[in-house]
Symmetry: C2
Subunit: 356 residues, 2 copies
């Protein structure tokens, strides 16, 4: 392959397969599939989604929403607490596309109500246990106050309650993930029951790749917003959300040095390409990626047994691998790395992405 | 300040002060100061260096060398093992500027000798204990073989031996850093003695911010290549390389949510802005940055006592801070974060940088 710098290889067939599987599950569950586009941030992957029938999407910043609006998407949820410093951009964008934002505190709701000048869908973000952002599901006073503020503006439409059960990422195994999902869904359902009489079209929106991958069905809500599943990664594999063969991206890295005496090689490919996300093992052991041999056309098979990325600096990646695998590489060769966190690697390599 | 998204604030006066201090130390030590530009990758910071008399620079990739060549720099060392897949670009660039590359294995030296078409300076990279890349200082057979290959090309000029004592980053305190430096310098000096007769103009090049910051003098080599010191960061502060007041960058982040009940607030500013680099404490505690209040013009004073960034996701940062500090913030305010690793944050925010 004509690659000279660290580059993200995207396996188009695996992407399609991952999308189809999740779209099929959403259909079977009777829920809308509004995938999160923060994982790929790619016009090309967007087209694959479009061809699979997707029209509604999720992003995590105003600038990402602007980008996808420019690429023709016109129903976008910004699943990040509304940033009041971007109200002007939000109003501008909402005049062009069907835009939905997130609110999770009365103060922001008040300013939003004062400053909105165009029709805007508003979700109330609920914290179902992740404890990052959101109103507690039993904070009825908070929810009521937010709803009251939203009601003061003729531009704001209350879409419903949205949650991201991000604590599934800290779960150990399928059973724990599904327990978290069940609890989250129960809490959301109670909210729908409580507020459904007053807001008859209110919806429930649920996200995260681990639960949407592991659950047999995603019923019980109105829409799902997984994102990472389009590529998957080593973190998801360790969680049990995917098989190794589902991982749709590898970072192609030039080999620059070989050290038989310590069973290692060093590649051009570091923290500025892969991100410093890692999986912690016992006794300080850290894993920054699995290693694959790349075929001439950029495809790869199973990871090389016993090989892993053991450390990253800004531009260097240090790969440990068994002697018999090491012997096959020389400086100037390419090797593939399956990333620990595909979203961050894809963000870093936005301008160095190749579809295979 | 008119900032709506996570942005890198660069305190120009602190940058100047950091550069002057290191330049002064280099002069007093009688060594050439060839700062590493990977930390800032900024045309503007380059100009500050230029105004302080700097003409020789270090970078860590061919693309960075191309960028700085375009910005007028014409004596550049790429302090990264030569990537054979970029030989064409290296030859092109070497026809425009005085370019120096790194070699650390006979195989690469051979290909380089075959493919070089323009005059090129070549450093041999020595591993003085960091064990990332480089030939062992007593691997005379390896060094001799590399030198033999370099000698076969009329375009290649052997510059000397270069090392990066990156293991100073794992040291505990000043004394350990200086011990590492002393050992590294001894090993380098022995090489100069051994090869100096044959290569009379061979030089020694030494890098890394911890040792160059902590040593009284940087004598014993011909040039030093620290880079991080221009900004410094929390990692350097924890190592003892700098005072908090020397840290020249803060990431301005919009506050989006406040949680008095858990003494936390959440900002727009995550792993794609700060990088996931952290400092590990006891019992799984991780620190992703210190927190500063930003003045109207973007300057900041000492970090808020007891406040720190406790976790990062793609776009969210979770800050823990005492109630009395928390009370001063509302959604829509800006807050500053002193990064754990300035090089990675500066790389991520290259297009969102503001000089104050």
């Amino acid at each position: 392959m004509n690659i000279s710098r660290p580059s993200l290889l995207v396996d188009r067939e695996k992407v399609k397969r991952n999308i189809r599987r999740m779209a099929q599950k959403a259909r079977a569950s009777g829920v809308l599939f509004r995938p999160h586009f923060k994982t790929h941030q790619s016009e090309e992957v967007g087209k694959i989604y479009f061809n699979e029938g997707i029209r509604q999407i999720t992003v995590s910043s105003v600038s990402m929403a602007q980008t996808f609006a420019r690429w023709g998407w016109n129903d976008i949820t910004i699943a990040f607490p509304l940033n009041l410093r971007e109200m002007a951009a939000v109003n501008r964008l909402a005049s062009q596309v069907d835009l939905h934002v997130l609110v999770e505190n009365p103060f922001t709701a008040q300013i939003l109500a004062e400053k909105a000048t165009v029709r805007l869908g508003v979700w109330i973000k609920i914290d179902t246990g992740y404890h990052r952002v959101g109103l507690a599901p039993d904070d009825f006073q908070g929810i009521d106050t937010v709803l009251r503020w939203l009601g003061t503006s003729r531009f704001l439409h209350f879409d419903g309650f949205l949650t991201h059960a991000g604590h599934t990422y800290h779960a150990r195994g399928r059973e724990q993930v599904l327990e978290i999902m069940e609890t989250a869904l129960q809490r959301m359902t109670l909210l729908k029951q409580k507020y459904g009489r007053q807001y008859q079209d209110l919806q429930l929106s649920y996200g995260d790749t681990p639960s949407c991958s592991l659950a047999e069905s995603c019923g019980g809500v109105d829409e799902i917003r997984p994102g990472n599943f389009v590529y998957y990664d080593i973190m998801q594999y360790h969680l049990g959300s995917c098989m190794l063969d589902d991982i749709a991206v590898a970072i192609a890295c030039p080999v620059v040095a070989i050290y038989p005496e310590r069973s290692e090689m060093v590649v051009y490919g570091g923290g500025v390409h892969l991100s410093k996300e890692f999986i912690a093992g016992d006794e300080g052991f850290s894993l920054y990626g699995y290693v694959v041999a790349l075929e001439e056309d950029g495809h790869w098979q199973a990871p090389l047994a016993g090989a892993y990325v053991r450390s990253l600096s800004q531009e260097h990646g240090v790969i440990r691998l068994p002697q018999n695998a090491l012997e096959k590489f020389r400086p100037g060769d390419l090797v593939g790395i399956l990333p620990v966190h595909a979203c961050l690697a894809a963000d870093l390599l936005k301008n160095d992405t190749l579809f295979i």
